[in-house]
Amino acid sequence: MSGPPADDISVRADGVSKTFSLPREQLSTLKERVLHPTRRRRHDELRALRDVSFEVRTGEVFGIVGRNGSGKSTLMKCLAGIYQADAGEMWLRGRMAPFIELGVGFNPDLTAHDNVLVNAVMLGLTPDEARRRYASIMDFAELHDFAELKLKNYSSGMQVRLAFSVMVHVDADLLLIDEVLAVGDAAFQQKCFDVLQRSRAEGRTILLVTHDMHQVQRFCDRALLLERGRVVAIGDAADVARRYTAVNFSAPGDVAGEDGGLPPGDHDDGARLVDVWIQDAAGRRGTGLAQGAPCALCLRVRFERPVTDPIFHLALSDGHGRTVFAVSSEWDDGAGGDFGPGDVVTAGASFDNWLAPGRYELTAQVLHPGGGGRVMARAENAATAVVTGSRAAGGLVDIPHAFFFDRLNRPTPAAVDGTGG
């Protein structure tokens, strides 16, 4: 199967493979080569991509998911023309703009203004077009006040905003986006979401690399799951996301293992967390939650051993790892009962969302009854929510409130025209 793809296909990869050779001993200076003339440079082979094939239709949002090191970024770099694939064919249609490693390659010694011009040209505009679009790029990034600041004085969040803004302004038909939604503040993430929605409506094709299954379910039409450089699943986004979750969160030990979590003996295999999610009032799962609206933290657990009155525990933590909000069935009545092997339970807590705008992670646990906190199953940071709000908030929560003030030193009429007399 070679030659150009069908008319409605914007991206086609056909048997793409990429191997990196990593020198086992670093012999990179001449001295080392002269001192060890007979020593061959030995290489370890890292097969980053193995026979990857897929097609993306024009106008589709296509997710690429997989764990760290599964080859997602390598695949993006091959498509973006940064790496040379060893084998296979790749076809693209239309102008492509990459957003890789959180940026488009800024120069820290140049001002934002110059960086924007250079990178817009890098991404395919002519210098004239780049100058004409400069203002709207800075508007979108909300960085007009910092236009003459060198990039090295920018915070990483500001740099990402600027880079993303450049990328969405170059009229690309095809966006290759690697993990942009993981950074930036809530307001910026909201903006990214809006752009992605609008791009989709305009018929642009988007390839989105992410770790976040809720993003995949929310934004992507279809998705691809990579594991050690191989395609293990491809198809409907929700199915692929479920497959990823199943692979990576299948046993409590695995969940803890990825985060270095629980010491041995701290939990047993008495139960298995099948799913952990956050949903809005309509029951939709997704990363975005509007402030002020009802939402719910949920877990689904399958018991493997009999237990009476287990405790369901859900905790939300913010970007700094602080627990912002936690609920436990231990503190509320009515969640008890006897459960046997094979019983599946959905538990959760619904509440009006008055969290401050920001990104939150949900950790779910099922514990044995009684004190001691013996854990049956645990999934750490298993779901993500981004709370979006229209106002800024200063604390961890934005409790419904009414602002009042009363001015005590109200100037008297006499003081106002006091010069008279």
Binding site: P4, T58, G59, R93, V104, V118
Partner: protein
């Protein structure tokens, strides 16, 4: 906005030149323009320095070597020839010296965007070429002041200048490609540049060498850099042409072949390295 009508194209991976000359040119001049700008950040006089600096440096060199040291005793228009040779040598030194690290300096761009890789060393050469032009403008002042008679050979001066640009770019491509893998290239090239400065008739006129030993003069002029500088001197002030200074006119084939060979090698090495530049950085 929809790509439905656009033709599909095959991803060829990164290369030295890419397939779109207009895009190549836009990239090179944009990179060169920002490089040029960054030189004058934070200085009150800004671009004025690009003329003022060579003007003052030339005045000092002209005064010291023409009146204090008198290195060119008996050679007509020695001062002007010295300034021309220095201008050309510093051009070569700037292109190759900044060229060595150019690919590594642009690492963040190379790792994140696919674009024709040769843009990077070419932008370095373009910045240096602009600098060379400004220096030549300043040089005109000294040419006029020292009373060199205008001659028709001035019209031919662009030929050695363009050859110099091509040669320096070829060397810069070779070095920048090697430097990606072998970081020793930089200190080695620093030393080579220093040696070249003295091995090339810059401070001393070739006529002085010929008086001592024709063999030494011939050896010095086999170096393409020296040959180009000598030919420029000839065209500007009527100094002996390369063919004459070499002793045997046929020997001119050697610097010409070296120039072509090194430039070709530079391009070949760069072209082979370009597809893997992003992963080896």
């Amino acid at each position: 906005m929809s790509a439905a009508g656009a033709p599909a194209y095959r991803v060829r991976g990164p290369s030295a030149l890419g397939g779109d000359p207009r895009r190549f040119w836009n990239l090179a001049r944009t990179l060169a323009a920002t490089d040029w700008k960054v030189r004058f950040y934070g200085s009150a006089l800004g671009y004025v320095w690009s003329l003022l600096r060579p003007l003052m440096l030339f005045a000092i060199v002209y005064f010291v070597f023409s009146y204090v040291i008198d290195a060119g005793a008996g050679v007509e228009h020695y001062g002007v020839m010295l300034l021309l040779a220095m201008t050309l040598y510093f051009f070569f030194s700037e292109v190759t010296g900044s060229g060595v690290t150019s690919m590594v300096d642009r690492e963040s761009l190379l790792r994140k965007v696919g674009f024709p890789r040769a843009v990077v060393p070419l932008a370095v050469a373009m910045v240096a070429a602009l600098n060379l032009l400004l220096n030549l403008v300043v040089l005109v002042v000294f040419v006029a002041a020292s009373g060199v008679q205008p001659r028709w050979t001035w019209l031919l001066l662009p030929i050695p200048l363009v050859l110099m640009l091509v040669f320096a770019t070829g060397v810069a491509m070779l070095l920048s490609a090697l430097y990606v893998r072998y970081r020793d290239v930089r200190p080695i090239w620093d030393v080579v540049l220093q040696a070249l400065f003295y091995a090339t008739p810059v401070l001393y006129p070739i006529e002085r060498v010929i008086e001592h030993s024709q063999t030494l003069a011939t050896l010095a002029l086999l170096n393409p850099l020296a040959a180009l500088i000598q030919e420029s001197r000839h065209l500007l002030t009527g100094a002996p042409p390369v063919t004459e200074a070499l002793g045997a006119p046929g020997l001119v084939a050697i610097p010409v072949a070296l120039l072509a060979g090194v430039t070709w090698l530079g391009f070949r090495v760069f072209d082979r390295m370009a597809p893997r530049a992003a992963e080896e950085l």
